[in-house]
Symmetry: C2
Subunit: 218 residues, 2 copies
């Protein structure tokens, strides 16, 4: 199995949620899957000082370059991602998924997706290959595939769930250690740090998500 | 159990190795341990573009602020770390351990340790509380406790091992999925990405290290 992982920076407040990304890589590697990381080559929406939680005025960082920290240097520009080379695709969460891969954090249901993210999602969907999305990343699937009425979860947050439904998704509440599967559209989602208070909670949901994504890829 | 984890930034080439840190947090959390992350409040030795592997000229980042990305905001200045509040201490690896917590990457056996890192290591050692060190981080223990003749591993790299021995340590070769324990000095070390080709290899050694550190803390 060859699985793409789409990163969006490095850090929960302005990039990929680091724990979720590493737990995804670990769960995939333990199955023996080959992993290919991707990220867009673009400036981050902003840089957040993770100690204070405040935006660092004037500071700029590149999503692809920062994603390389999580990927230990091995990350490709998402423009090179092709469904034909992948058996499955997974989006870890973190604010980067909602600020860099799209602008859901700012515009909710009126958000716009990065065009290459839209393209690879629709390619995978047309090829009937599964996609996993963690934490807030199901917002991306709601936007890209909303016209298909996909069933998804972001946990239990009613405001976020309502925004997903305005984009055409059907939201199902889900506890942190579980996942929701949409068999028809081959989508698997888990709340992770939308609900997790501890890394081991996020890990359990992500391990189950990875297993289910790989089952759907077979 | 309350365990301190000393971070040194966020990224293998200029900070904490991200996978090693997250795997340490996961293994600790799965035992139910309380985790407290620490890092020094200082500039990084440099900033490395992890996509190219090149130093970013003129760019500055703070070790404590970047470490907060891994710790999801919850990280304390290492000056506040006290052995009296901790049952054990663990150092993940990455170049930050050898560039920010000390200058072993530049000066090898002639390196100097961050004074607060020296202090907390010696406090823990005097209190007979265990310390774990992953990847290149055993170099720090060699410097701080070299006069005690500690037994350590950094894997199989003979040049690095020789530098540790020049500081007073006894080096034992160790495969990636295993660890070395010095029962007398309560030190546990594992090679992780000094040898690992896959995250699951690093994970196995780190899980075993965490279990052994907690056993020694009982």
């Amino acid at each position: 199995m060859k699985v793409g992982v789409i990163l969006s920076g490095c850090g929960v407040y302005d990039g990929t949620e680091i724990h979720e990304a590493v737990l995804t890589l670990l769960a995939l590697d333990r199955t023996g899957a080959e992993i290919v990381c991707f990220a867009p080559d673009m400036d981050q929406a902003h840089v957040v000082n993770h100690l204070t939680g405040q935006v660092s005025p004037g500071e700029r960082r590149n999503v692809l370059v920062e994603s390389a920290r999580i990927a230990r240097g091995k990350v490709r520009d998402v423009v090179t991602a092709q469904a034909s080379e992948l058996d499955a695709l997974i989006f870890p969460g973190g604010c980067g998924a909602a600020k860099n891969l799209c602008d859901f954090a700012m515009k909710e249901a009126d958000c716009t997706l990065h065009p290459e993210v839209t393209r690879i999602i629709r390619q995978m969907h047309q090829a009937k290959k599964p996609i996993g999305a963690i934490c807030i990343a199901p917002a991306i699937l709601s936007k890209a595939l909303g016209n298909q009425g996909p069933t998804l979860t972001i946990g239990t947050d009613t405001k976020t769930a309502a925004a997903l439904e305005r984009m055409g998704a059907k939201h199902e509440a889900c506890p942190v250690r579980e996942f929701i599967v949409d068999e028809e559209h081959k989508l698997v989602t888990t709340p992770a740090y939308m609900l997790a208070n501890r890394i081991s909670e996020a890990a359990e949901g992500i391990e189950k998500l990875v297993r289910e994504v790989l089952r759907l890829a077979r």
